[in-house]
């Protein structure tokens, strides 16, 4: 298929191939207008490309891209993202020409000492020269001056057409090449170059300001957040034109110097150019890589532009690949400035251009010009993810020493490390993101297009496990900022060790400032934010082991780092080591927090109240509202597992039961670490559901009712036998599903000797066969068929899916330590918003499991906070009307299963387009049916919509508040949308029900107050729902919730003519003669009366909102 493509290329040569980038010494303005002229022909080529033979397109689609749909989406994205250059050019051409003229006419200024020159320009033009710190003093000997620029060029993404359409104004870069006459030989040392440059910029600004006919708002800004290099930012002020329709843009004017002005050798990464003492001192001082590179990058403006231009000419898809790269970076918050990570669209473009020439094994190029844009993008991502640039990569050069710990990709031809603005942390984040992106692109099952390009990934709350904000006294110079950041990073890295997998520091760059003012750094960058990704298990380690006592030097270093926190301890294995002991006893805060507060105080003298920190609140929320069980490995869950194992053993030795046991399986949230509440007063509070299956036998009756009866007999028998063998302290058979004779009718409550109560049901697979046969039988009545279908789904849920899901979630919980607490926190969220009766626990578990097993575009959550917030994020985005939720539980979700699930989903939507029985569709690799937990209005459409709405609201709240978020806001539900609230009398319900139960002398199984409460409120709500069915929706939370919220079906609000089909209590309309005689209205007062009588002793009051 590649050959096919090559052929096509020969047939339709790129229309711009003839153009050569030889105009380096003439003004690029001409160049860009030339391109503008070429516009129609390139459009022509595009059209031709679209018309090519379909089979060729097909071949292209199936081979070179990930999948057809991916390719189509990619094309669409590219078309959408290309700025409308024709419009831009026509609008900007005149302005740029005018600007150029203005700049060329600025009068020369003779050399003067820096301070004097500054005074002059301030007095005559009202412009403060943006000298970078350290400001030139009185004793500076060198002079500053202005001469006509050698060159004024438009450079960057505008000319190269590699830019992306975005919400922010489009930036056009204008490079002014300063003449060599302004500088002296040794100007590269001690900021001399930058002072002269700042003066030059100020002169340009004054010239533009004086030229009256240009309507611009002139400001100074920092080039890529670099305080050494201020630039001029022009924003159009003409309000008449800048309506919504016009092109929004801004012009940046910065300087360049000629390539040969300063020798490359002076600005190599390991050279020192900022000297404390006399300028002639030896070069033994510490290297100043950032300073050098900032200086050098002034000289590389033209060469890089040339490189990019020729690359774009050589490779058709280069521009598109640049767009893709820019989008990918922007969605992850990367930008060119140091504060944004130092790797933006420009760096991406350069990197790709360089990879066309080398970078691979044996210096071979990584990218080929025959690649498609997608291939270029992927290969570049692959390069970023795979190549560790902390080991310097030198292109076209050798033996260039470079500093350790920072990434280096040294371009020998241009003499610049293109990653010079990257810090160790931003580089590790970039690689981390590239690695995720690569995994997404390599996944064959899902196309992940949205996740690579569309999703906004840089919301810190969704990205990091813990966030810290520190106030910093900003120094105002980039060099010092870098140093400060580095120190903090190093300390945190050392202190956290393997507790943290990723540490990322970020801050805001300086805002543009008015040319008439001094740059004030007080307002800018007052804080630095730190994001941590934790290792879920290491993060909670109580004791840190330091060096052994015998290792004197290491021990001393350890002590000096940790101060009085370090203790010498003798451990159980006899070794004596330096160590740190943290407290994990409540109510002390989390260990990570203790550690951070301690170390930040010790090394940077931060007081605890200066540090704002978020992340632990979610764990605390869980702990406070529940039983303080953070992890799946907590003893309470362990108790259940142990009791189950022991019960399983006793079943194997069960003798008095005539059939042999095939399998005993857990089928309860308690058994899969996902129950919200586990214990109350030391006991496992709810019965643990288990399912027993016998070896098949022909002695079972062939009749559904008789099977239920036989089960009762078996249960009694098993109970007797368990009690007599001593495995259980007592057993009793309970009844359920009284209304049907064919649903499972009975269960056995086993009080195990460990205190755990198991609720056992017998699984008999013949039932399924009989039910299915009934469904197929022709003479069965419709109602009987419905009944059979209902029973069959109940059977599958109870006996097949529940044990399977339990097994799957159990496995996942041990694989992902934060899964269990996240599930439970999300369950708490659902309960707080009164969804308990409408959303099955299993649905919640599946949704959270999806966030963990298919975490893209992020990595697997490693804390409760991100797990929880990403679950909400998912719920907010999930368009459940159109998309099924497909969860990969066991890693066995393949293309066939996916297809089958999609078919079923569209089938359901076809037979039930109004979504009256199935609103949410939740399938997994172990349950392709997809409706097991959501059929029969679990939840109804209205409730599902409310769920989406609440999740959207929560995500919005998180994004708006950021670190200032009060976590409990997420769990507070508004009662405004409900029509009435039934307040329950819970306080004395507990005591009363307990005393009543005691009085009735039940065997102590359920003498727990809360449990009884649950057992009373649950059936009460079910009764209400059965009685008032489709006309009132009752919302309620879990047992801690003391109210029911009700909503009338809006259809009941209007008076209706009397008919037998009214399913609510009504009263004759009393509207008078205008009303028709036979109309009735809903009798709400009577219904309230019925509710409160049905719940007498339970209902405290009924509060009715509004008068609809």
């Amino acid at each position: 298929m590649l050959t096919h493509k090559a052929k096509r290329r020969k047939l339709s040569p790129s229309p711009q191939i003839a153009q050569k980038a030889e105009q380096s010494n003439e003004s690029k303005l001409n160049n860009y207008s030339k391109i503008a002229r070429n516009e129609p022909s390139s459009m022509d080529g595009l059209a031709r490309r679209k018309n090519i033979d379909r089979s060729a397109e097909l071949a292209l689609a199936s081979g070179v891209y990930k999948s057809n749909l991916f390719k189509l989406q990619l094309d669409e994205l590219l078309t959408e993202s290309r700025p409308n250059y024709g419009k831009h050019v026509s609008k900007l051409q005149d302005i740029l020409h005018k600007l150029k003229e203005v700049i060329e006419q600025i009068p020369e200024r003779p050399p003067k000492p820096a301070i004097e020159a500054e005074k002059e320009i301030r007095n005559t033009h009202g412009i403060v020269v943006p000298y970078p710190e350290p400001l030139p003093g009185k004793d500076t000997k060198y002079t500053v001056s202005y001469n006509k620029p050698t060159n004024v060029n438009v450079v960057g993404s505008f000319v190269l057409r590699t830019g992306v359409r975005a919400s922010e104004p489009y930036t056009v870069d204008l490079a002014v090449t300063m003449p060599n006459t302004v500088f002296q030989e040794k100007d590269y040392v001690n900021h001399r170059f930058f002072h002269k440059r700042a003066y030059y910029i100020a002169c340009l600004a004054s010239g533009i300001k004086e030229a009256g006919d240009i309507n611009f708002d002139i400001k100074f800004a920092q080039q890529d957040g670099d305080s050494l290099r201020p630039l001029i930012l022009l924003n159009p002020t003409d309000s008449t034109k800048s309506g919504s329709q016009s092109v929004r843009y801004q012009i940046r004017i910065f300087t360049a110097i000629e390539d040969k002005l300063f020798p490359i050798g002076r600005t190599l990464p390991m050279k020192n150019n900022v000297r404390q003492g006399s300028p002639d001192q030896s070069e033994s001082c510490a290297p100043t890589p950032f300073y050098n590179a900032a200086l050098r990058s002034e000289a590389t403006v033209a060469p890089f532009h040339k490189l990019l231009y020729s690359t774009a000419q050589m490779c058709d898809s280069f521009r598109d690949a640049c767009i893709l790269g820019r989008i990918w970076l922007r969605q992850r918050g990367f930008g060119s400035s140091f504060q944004q990570g130092g790797f933006g669209g420009f760096e991406w473009t350069i990197l790709m251009a360089l990879l066309f020439e080398g970078g691979g094994f044996n210096g071979k190029p990584i990218l080929l010009k025959s690649y498609s844009s997608y291939q270029l993008f992927k290969a570049t991502i692959q390069f970023l993810a795979g190549k560790n640039l902390l080991n310097p990569l030198l292109l076209f050069a050798s033996d260039i020493p470079s500093p350790t710990g920072t990434p280096t990709l040294y371009d020998g031809k241009r003499g610049l490390n293109i990653l010079y603005k990257m810090s160790p942390w931003s580089y590790s984040l970039l690689r981390y993101e590239a690695d995720i992106a690569l995994r997404m692109l390599n996944e064959s099952r899902d196309d992940n297009f949205d996740k690579v390009f569309i999703y906004k990934v840089n919301e810190p709350m969704l990205r990091f496990d813990r966030l810290i904000t520190l106030p910093v006294s900003e120094s105002g110079t980039i060099l010092r900022t870098i140093r400060n950041h580095n120190v903090i990073y190093e300390v945190l890295k050392k202190a956290l060790g393997d507790r943290a997998e990723l540490i990322f520091l970020f801050s805001n760059g300086a805002e543009p400032w008015s040319v008439g003012k001094k740059f004030s750094h007080k307002s800018t960058s007052a804080t630095i934010q730190i994001g941590l990704n934790l290792h879920p298990e290491n993060a909670m380690r109580v004791v840190d082991h330091g060096p052994f006592a015998e290792q004197k030097d290491e021990a001393a270093a350890f002590r000096s780092f940790w101060g009085e926190k370090a203790e010498l301890r003798r451990f159980r294995d006899g070794t004596i080591r330096e160590s740190l002991v943290w407290s994990d006893q409540l109510p002390s805060p989390s260990i990570v927090y203790q550690l951070l507060v301690y170390i930040l105080h010790r090394h940077f003298n931060y007081a605890e109240d200066e540090i704002s920190y978020i992340g632990d609140e979610f764990d605390e929320k869980l702990r406070n509202s529940e039983d303080g069980i953070p992890l799946y490995s907590s003893p309470a869950f362990q108790l259940v597992t142990d009791a189950f194992n022991s019960l399983e053993r006793s079943f194997q030795s069960l003798e008095e039961v005539p059939l042999t046991v095939r399998q005993l399986a857990l089928a309860s949230p308690l058994g899969r670490y996902s129950a919200l509440r586990v214990q109350s007063s030391g006991l496992i509070r709810d019965p643990v559901d288990i399912v027993l299956q016998f070896e098949s036998s022909s002695r079972w009756p062939d009749d559904l009712v008789a099977i239920q009866m036989t089960k009762v007999a078996f249960l009694i028998k098993i109970g007797d036998s368990l009690v007599s063998s001593g495995a259980a302290s007592s057993c009793k058979v309970g009844l359920e599903n009284e209304s049907s004779r064919t649903l499972n009718n009975a269960f056995l409550d086993i009080s195990h000797t460990s205190g755990v109560i198991f609720r056992m049901r017998i699984h008999h697979d013949r039932e399924q066969l009989l039910l299915e046969r009934q469904l197929k039988e022709k003479e069965t009545s419709l109602r009987a068929k419905q009944e059979a279908a209902y029973n069959l789904s109940a059977y599958k849920r109870l006996f097949i899916q529940s044990p399977r899901l339990t097994q799957a979630i159990r496995t996942l919980c041990t694989r992902f330590p934060s899964l269990s607490p996240t599930i439970r926190l999300v369950k708490h969220w659902f309960a707080c918003h009164l969804f308990t009766g409408y959303v099955n626990e299993e649905v919640i578990e599946l949704v959270v499991a999806k966030v963990f097993t298919q975490p893209y575009p992020w990595d697997t959550p490693s804390s409760v906070m991100v797990g929880f917030l990403r679950t909400l994020h998912f719920l907010a985005r999930w368009d459940w009307q159109q998309d099924p939720l497909i969860v990969d539980l066991g890693g066995e979700l393949n293309q066939d299963t996916l297809e089958a699930i999609h078919t079923r989903f569209s089938g359901w939507r076809r037979i039930d387009p109004a979504m009256n029985t199935v609103a949410l569709f939740v399938a997994s690799d172990i349950d392709p049916d997809g409706v097991t937990w959501t059929q029969h209005e679990m939840p109804p459409k209205v409730v599902a919509a409310r769920m989406s709405m609440l999740a959207k609201g929560a995500v919005k709240l998180v994004q708006a508040n950021g670190l200032a978020l009060d976590v409990s806001d997420l769990f507070q539900t508004s009662l405004a949308p409900y029509d009435f609230i039934v307040k329950l009398r819970t306080e004395h319900l507990h005591d009363r029900s307990t005393s009543l139960l005691k009085y009735k002398n039940l065997n102590g199984l359920d003498s727990q107050g809360q449990t009884a409460n649950l057992k009373v409120v649950g059936p009460f709500v079910r009764d209400l729902q059965a009685c008032f069915g489709p006309n009132v929706l009752f919302f309620h939370g879990d047992e801690n919730c003391d109210m029911l919220a009700g909503v009338w079906n809006p259809q009941t609000a209007k008076p209706k003519s009397w008919s037998l089909k009214l399913t609510y209590s009504s009263s004759p309309s009393t509207g008078g003669p205008t009303k028709k005689d036979d109309e009735v209205t809903i009798n709400r007062d009577a219904i309230f009366n019925e509710i409160s009588r049905l719940g007498s002793g339970l209902v405290d009051s009924i509060e009715v909102f509004g008068t609809k």
Binding site: L704, V705, L996, F1088, L1094
Partner: protein
């Protein structure tokens, strides 16, 4: 209101509901709608029956007996048939019934004894766990009186009561202690009744199994008898053993297909035209998929708008 309260041919009978314990619940009036019963297929009881619509959710037979017998003092109620809601119970019986028809193919010739036994079997049920059933809001019931005059008198009395000031009659007044309890106690009782005594359960199961076996035995006999009995034309249908069910047939067919597939394996690319055809097919397949994907994209664009990074 002086005139008859009537709506769509129904007499309206206002009832005062007993006051609720809870706070902020206003006293409420409930309305019953009454009419002589007129079913599509009348039976012997129809003339003395009254059709009552919109019964309160806690209605029991006792409530209605008390209402017509004591509160309106007009007629004695023989029994009450509540609305035939498609409850699981009814459905369950139907299922049980259809199950038995599977066993005996022809219903016509069933012996009376087998049906009797079947009915007996349906009556054997596990003990109930609720004190009283609830009615759905707005449900109806048929009240059968001892005779027609009682029914007519009751209707008259209801009309009269409706004409009076509202709220004369209080629902269930005077029989409070004989009604099943509502509220907390109802649920506590249920909680207790869910675990019936072991002996009762065992007895139910044994009863059931005895009758069940009797039914099975009776059906077997019927079956045996039928194989020997000549039909109207004097023929005896000869049957040999149990027939294969349709499920088994399907399985067999599937196996056959599988076998054939196995046989032709490895021969797909034998002829050139085969591989050519295959290639063509694959290409068509790809084209089709491409079109599908295009449609999908259109659909996506329609739903979510333009494809643009957030």
């Amino acid at each position: 209101m002086g005139k008859d309260l009537e709506i769509a041919g129904y007499t309206v009978l206002p009832l005062q509901l007993p006051p609720a314990e809870s706070k902020r619940v206003k006293p409420a009036t409930h309305y019953l709608y009454l009419r002589p019963h007129e079913p599509r297929i009348p039976d012997a009881d129809t003339p003395r029956s009254l059709f009552v619509v919109n019964v309160p959710i806690d209605t029991t037979e006792l409530h209605l007996r008390h209402l017509f017998g004591t509160q309106l003092a007009a007629g004695r109620v023989e029994r009450v048939d509540f609305e035939d809601v498609p409850t699981k119970k009814k459905g369950g019986m139907a299922t049980a019934h259809s199950m038995t028809t599977n066993v005996s193919r022809s219903k016509k010739r069933k012996r009376v004894t087998a049906d009797d036994l079947q009915n007996q079997l349906d009556d054997v049920a596990l003990p109930s766990t609720w004190d009283g059933e609830l009615q759905k809001s707005g449900a109806h019931a048929v009240v059968v009186f001892v005779d027609k005059p009682s029914m007519e008198a009751s209707l008259k009395a209801a009309k009269k009561a409706g004409r009076k000031k509202e709220g004369e009659i209080v629902w269930g007044q005077g029989i409070e202690d004989r009604l099943p309890q509502l509220g907390l106690q109802r649920y506590l009782n249920h909680e207790q009744a869910r675990y019936p005594p072991r002996a009762e359960l065992l007895r139910t199961v044994n009863d059931f199994m005895t009758v069940f076996e009797a039914v099975a035995e009776a059906r077997r006999k019927e079956q045996a008898l039928r194989t020997q009995e000549p039909d109207e034309d004097g023929f005896i249908t000869v049957t040999s053993g149990p027939k294969l069910t349709s499920v088994a047939h399907e399985d067999e067919a599937r196996e056959l297909i599988e076998k054939q597939k196995q046989k032709s394996k490895g021969l797909e690319d034998f002829y050139r035209f085969q591989s050519r055809e295959k290639r063509k097919e694959r290409q068509n397949e790809l084209l089709k998929k491409f079109d599908e994907d295009k449609k999908k994209l259109q659909e996506m664009k329609r739903r979510k708008g333009k494809i643009r990074p957030e």
